[in-house]
Symmetry: C2
Subunit: 355 residues, 2 copies
């Protein structure tokens, strides 16, 4: 039976990406070799890396604007460290919007002073807090655009001369915003970029070279830029599959087209959450709700096991909420079709009829 994969990540990717990636493991590009056994210095793979780096910028409208794209390793959690290592000389401003923002703050404190611009920790992060003032002496501001755990998403970003660094792990390539507003964007691949195992970093070169500490080579953005994201053996398969997925997105019409689909999916689900008397949204303020991760609860917990049964029978997978929040979380990343959301909505309506 077809599974409807609402998992929060690593998440669903397009079927054609799975098919091509699977084939490349047997025979990459009619080379007679597996993608897993080719040299990362071969012309074939250098072309893959360069195509992936180029698509990464092109799809965000960042080509020829002073940005470099890097496919690194270690996940967003490693970027919490690298950002501070490369950019934090004295003081940085962090917006505390969730579990991952909190972790980013924790790691940055090893390298300098962290000023918390605003926080929604008082309500278990179920809203996006307002930044009232921005100190002028910040090295950078760090934001988290989408908070996967609770399901909130930033709709606007500070207008300031302070460089903006943003963790977009769970909503990059999902919506059409002005990406030139940011000086450094990073994202673990395992949502809208590709499989787990690589992390996209997009950085404006002019941001670098301003801290006084010595940076180890593997953590130095400038070294990694100079080596074209190949300082050492890259995660070949993850980069290749990310390239396939970015090509798929381009063929869909890019972020303009996918945003329309993502909006339609989110509107359909949130409308049902708000309409159906059995359910309530975890994020009360509509403006703060994530288009990627919709969180909700069943008001009467007695109905939970019946809901689980119905969801399971319909092939709905991965809607259990994060343990710190409870309830349900339906993640609707780029590759999830509208038809999967329709199935989930019909399950919610079936529960209503039965109860």
């Amino acid at each position: 039976m077809k599974k409807h994969n609402f998992g929060a990540g690593p998440c669903i990717l397009p079927k054609e990406v799975f098919t091509k990636a699977s084939q490349a493991i047997i025979d990459f590009d009619n080379s007679g070799l597996s993608i897993l056994e080719i040299s990362h210095r071969s012309e074939a793979f250098v072309n893959v890396m360069e195509r992936a780096r180029s698509l990464a910028l092109e799809l965000l409208g960042l080509k020829n604007k002073g940005y470099h794209a890097l496919f690194l390793q270690g996940g967003a959690s490693f970027q919490f460290v690298m950002v501070a290592y490369n950019l934090l000389e004295k003081k940085a401003g962090y917006l505390n919007t969730g579990r991952w923002a909190h972790n980013a703050i924790k790691e940055a404190r090893n390298f300098g002073e962290v000023f918390e611009l605003a926080s929604s920790a008082n309500k278990n992060y179920n809203y996006i807090p307002e930044i009232k003032t921005i100190p002028t002496d910040l090295d950078y501001i760090h934001l988290t655009s989408n908070n996967t755990v609770v399901g909130t998403q930033m709709q606007s970003f500070p207008e300031t001369n302070v460089p903006l660094v943003i963790d977009m792990s769970s909503d990059i390539y999902s919506r059409n915003i002005d990406y030139t507003a940011f000086d450094l964007i990073y994202a673990g691949a395992q949502k809208n970029i590709g499989p787990a195992g690589t992390t996209l970093v997009i950085v404006k070169e002019e941001l670098l070279g301003k801290v006084s500490r010595t940076i180890p080579s593997m953590l130095d953005y400038q070294v990694l830029i100079d080596k074209k994201s190949m300082f050492n053996t890259p995660p070949v398969f993850s980069v290749y599959t990310s390239m396939l997925n970015l090509e798929w997105l381009k063929n869909q019409g890019g972020i303009q087209a996918i945003e329309k689909q993502n909006k339609a999916k989110a509107e359909l689900l949130y409308a049902e959450i708000d309409r159906n008397p059995l359910f309530e949204a975890t994020v009360p303020y509509k403006k703060d709700r994530s288009m990627m991760n919709a969180t909700f609860k069943i008001k009467n917990s007695d109905l939970e096991s019946r809901f689980a049964e119905l969801a399971n029978e319909a092939g709905v997978h991965g809607i259990k909420g994060h343990r710190s929040v409870g309830g349900y979380r339906a993640s609707m990343y780029n590759a999830l079709p509208l038809s999967s959301v329709e199935v989930l909505v019909s399950v919610m309506q079936e529960l209503e009829k039965l109860s």
Copy 2:
């Protein structure tokens, strides 16, 4: 035509590993989901990670001996940094046996004093230098067991009370030595472990907690041990495929059995290099020659293009030497069959007949 892949890495893996990995991308373990879209917190993947960690120790004879196995990201180059971050308080001893050892020294110097125990840099690293004395005040000694670029390999290891840290990226799981001699072993996966994108670290817990600096979470072995190698999203596919490859090795009879095969392959090739009047070994001292990477040259460079043609016609792939050494390098990792070495030897003999 069948390719004989002598590439230095990422390298050949067993055909059954390619087949299973390819299948898991379409449908992992009859779950109806791709291995690329399952949660790393799912029971299915936690089992994969634990199986991989367990096999990693078991195959080296390190189970229940105080060691932990971690599947991390970033390659051996990132371990150059992590080792020093976690272990270098004042002074460490490094054996300078090649390009990668040299890089490890460079990164360690950011964290403390490096004492060079011995070096073969004077002869472009074509031998393993002898350690004459070991200072008693070293935090640890760092070795590189096999030097992929020039093709040398350590046959014995210092006997000392100083903790031994060893980069075994290119020969772990290839030979039957006493792995309990080491306190920390690391290896980029892309030779005998699995595909690029993960790095195995095997560390004795008692080695940790002795430096005074604050270690960022992502670089702290103790944190990663406590989180069972799942501090954040691991490189799911690379870990899964590494597990498949370690299972394959176990089914082959483990390192005892594979060592026999590796010896047979190396003996066959080195015998031909030494016998065939057209060729000469790059590493003059037989005792220092690597069982994994055999390097050699054609004495008369006029024959090189003919040799390239013959090799290509026979399906021999990836024998070009590293640019810093020139000539040829035939890498004979675990999954390379003896029959591939026989093909290479027959090409060398054909060149001899024609010239």
